[in-house]
């Protein structure tokens, strides 16, 4: 395409930007009809955006470490004096560690899900919603992105294993990462599901805190779940987080050289009416719940205009 006379009405700024630079030839793009490949590309780019944003947001990485560290070192060291007698020689920090691995993921995943509320507030959600792709691709990308970010955050805490007397092994690293990914996936799916209905940031964070904080406390992240009062046992068994904390603790304890008695007290098996729930089923329960919530989130976003 040839250079044409510029319009006098064009501002100096725009003229300066294009003057001297020959106008690049017109590149005509054709947007292909929707296909599974275009959906995959959409999922991938939404996922990648979460990672890019995480990487740019150093502040968030640091701030979301504060809470887990408080639990681990302040609460863990503080209560150690009270609990030394009853933990059969196991450091309380070591006991709490699997719970803290879960909490860090939970709260990061919550913030990841909150980003969909921000996106709505800052208009970016609209840019994604008008693209010629399925809403489900956007939601799946968002949930996977949030899950990835949360488990990356979890990896930082994995680096602290030495400080709580947990030896490293390939099994530990892979296992913790996989469990964190799973938990983060489910929590993000839950958050995105909530975000489909609650469009105000304050209300969203309020609702999430109101639900996630009790779930965390009841889950047994900070105490053994063997001999709880009846009402708490019921709540504990209903709480989905229980089924993420228990496999995590089992995984960590498998790395330790502790007495059978200590293991039985500190990491008792989860039971339903006396039936011992297998670890694999516990993990599956967390996954299944995540999938159900993802399904609801997709339905919610697809129904909206």
């Amino acid at each position: 395409m040839s250079e044409r006379p510029r319009l006098a009405a064009m501002s100096t700024e725009a003229a300066a930007a294009t003057a001297g630079v020959p106008t690049p030839p017109t590149v005509a793009v054709r947007v292909p009809p929707r296909s599974w490949r275009s959906e995959l590309r959409a999922v991938r780019i939404v996922w990648r955006r979460e990672l890019i944003r995480f990487q740019k947001d150093r502040m968030r990485i640091v701030t979301s470490l504060v809470q887990p560290l408080l639990f681990l070192f302040v609460l863990g060291s503080g209560l150690q004096q009270l609990s030394a007698a009853s933990t059969d020689g196991v450091d309380l920090k070591t006991f709490i560690y699997p719970g803290v691995l879960c909490i860090s993921v939970m709260f990061t995943a919550m913030f990841s899900a909150a980003s969909i509320v921000w996106d709505r507030e800052f208009g970016f959600l609209r840019e994604m919603m008008v693209a010629p792709v399925r809403r489900s691709s956007i939601v799946v990308g968002k949930v996977l992105g949030g899950a990835s970010v949360a488990s990356l955050q979890g990896l930082i805490l994995l680096a602290l294993a030495w400080a709580v007397h947990v030896p490293y092994s390939v099994g530990l690293v892979l296992g913790v990462f996989a469990l964190q990914l799973l938990l983060a996936f489910s929590i993000t799916a839950f958050g995105v599901m909530v975000a489909a209905r609650i469009t105000q940031m304050q209300s969203f964070m309020g609702v999430m805190q109101m639900i996630v904080t009790p779930m965390f406390f009841i889950s047994g992240a900070l105490f053994p779940v063997g001999d709880l009062p009846g009402w708490l046992t019921v709540l504990n068994r209903i709480d989905p987080i229980t089924y993420a904390v228990s496999p995590m603790r089992t995984l960590v304890f498998d790395q330790l050289d502790i007495s059978a008695a200590a293991s039985a007290t500190l990491n008792p098996p989860i039971t339903w009416f006396g039936w011992e729930v297998p670890i694999a089923l516990q993990i599956f329960a967390v996954f299944a719940l995540g999938m159900i919530m993802l399904g609801i989130a997709i339905a919610e976003f697809s129904a909206g205009e």
Binding site: A14, R41, A42, I52, G123, E127
Partner: protein, 328 residues
């Protein structure tokens, strides 16, 4: 004659019992710059949202780029570019990343992403700043980037909802520069809304919208001609004589207002030379004013655009509350 880029038949949208768009009909030709003019709350954005498949019409039909906005939603989306009134960029990403994300969402062929990006970023003068975070951009730069993004996938129709609102005159001028450049370089139809009268002048045709209806639709020139006369004001040495002479020689009724003689004629530019040649009273000053789109708006709606905005804002609040109540 190619098929129209946009054709709309009896399109309506209600929010609860409030009818935001009351049955509009129009067609936009390929390559045209078509403007929607009207006060805030006139139903412009609702109409544009229906054409962009963001809002489902209550009734009526609309086709964009040859596809129905309800039954072929994805096909419409593939062929349109959107620049919204509120910004929709990701401030944490760089300009380049924003465009790349858009290209991926739209499935732009990988080999074309880079050259197309360079083209659109150069056009809006942001190529040098492609690596900067959007958070560091000024309002005008962001709007330019949004226009570039809207063009990333070579849309057949570009929708611009108030593209120049809240921008300084210089940026507004450059945005119009891009729109003209686009018209020359690409086969693109531009549909825009504005409530700046002076900008509507740049459109090929404009539709004036008020209270959910199109009250007039034509080229700016034709619309102004339809309003009629130019107004001429002269300052003379003897106003009384001038008025008498105007009546005798030209058959014009003139009045004195604010110290000048003023009267209306059909074609002011051609009349002024005759006036100087034939009027015997000495003329000290002359002022010719053509009808503006403000006058056009006034003649069709009976109010100035500012007054219309005030009364519309009441309706708008009502509509917004109903829309909220209606939402899950």
């Amino acid at each position: 004659m190619p098929a129209p880029a946009i054709s709309v038949k009896d399109l309506r949208k209600s929010f609860g019992d409030f009818e935001a768009v009351k049955g509009v009909d129009f067609a936009v030709d390929t390559g045209e710059v078509f403007g929607f003019l009207g006060p805030n709350g006139a139903g412009k954005t609702t109409t544009i949202n229906m054409l962009c498949t963001l809002t489902r019409p209550t009734s009526g039909q609309a086709e964009v780029a040859g596809f129905d906005v309800v039954t072929a939603r994805d096909d419409v989306r593939r062929h349109i570019g959107l620049v919204f009134q509120d910004q929709t960029l990701d401030g944490y990403l760089s300009a380049e990343q924003n465009l790349r994300l858009h290209a991926e969402l739209y499935g732009v062929e990988k080999a074309l992403v880079k050259p197309r990006m360079e083209q659109v970023l150069r056009m809006v003068g942001l190529w040098e700043r492609r690596g900067s975070q959007v958070l560091t951009f000024s309002g005008g730069m962001r709007r330019r980037l949004e226009i570039a993004r809207g063009l990333m996938h070579s849309p057949r129709v570009l929708f611009l909802d108030e593209p120049t609102i809240g921008l300084d005159p210089q940026t507004r001028a450059s945005i119009w520069g891009y729109i003209r450049q686009l018209q020359r370089q690409e086969e693109i139809t531009i549909f825009m809304t504005t409530h700046y009268m002076d900008e509507a002048e740049f459109c090929g045709r404009i539709a004036i919208m008020d209270g959910g209806e199109i009250v007039a639709l034509d080229t700016p020139t034709a619309l102004k001609e339809a309003v009629g006369a130019d107004r001429i004001r002269i300052e003379t040495a003897d106003d009384e004589r001038a008025i008498a002479e105007l009546r005798e020689r030209f058959g014009l009724e003139a009045t004195v207002s604010e110290g000048a003689v003023s009267f209306a004629v059909a074609d002011g530019e051609e009349f002024v030379p005759r006036l100087f040649a034939e009027l015997e009273v000495a003329i000290k000053a002359v002022n010719l004013s053509r009808p503006t789109l403000d006058d056009v708006f006034m003649s069709h709606t009976g109010s100035t655009i500012r007054d219309a905005e005030e009364s519309a804002s009441k309706n708008r609040n009502r509509a917004a509350m109903q829309a909220m109540a209606g939402r899950r």
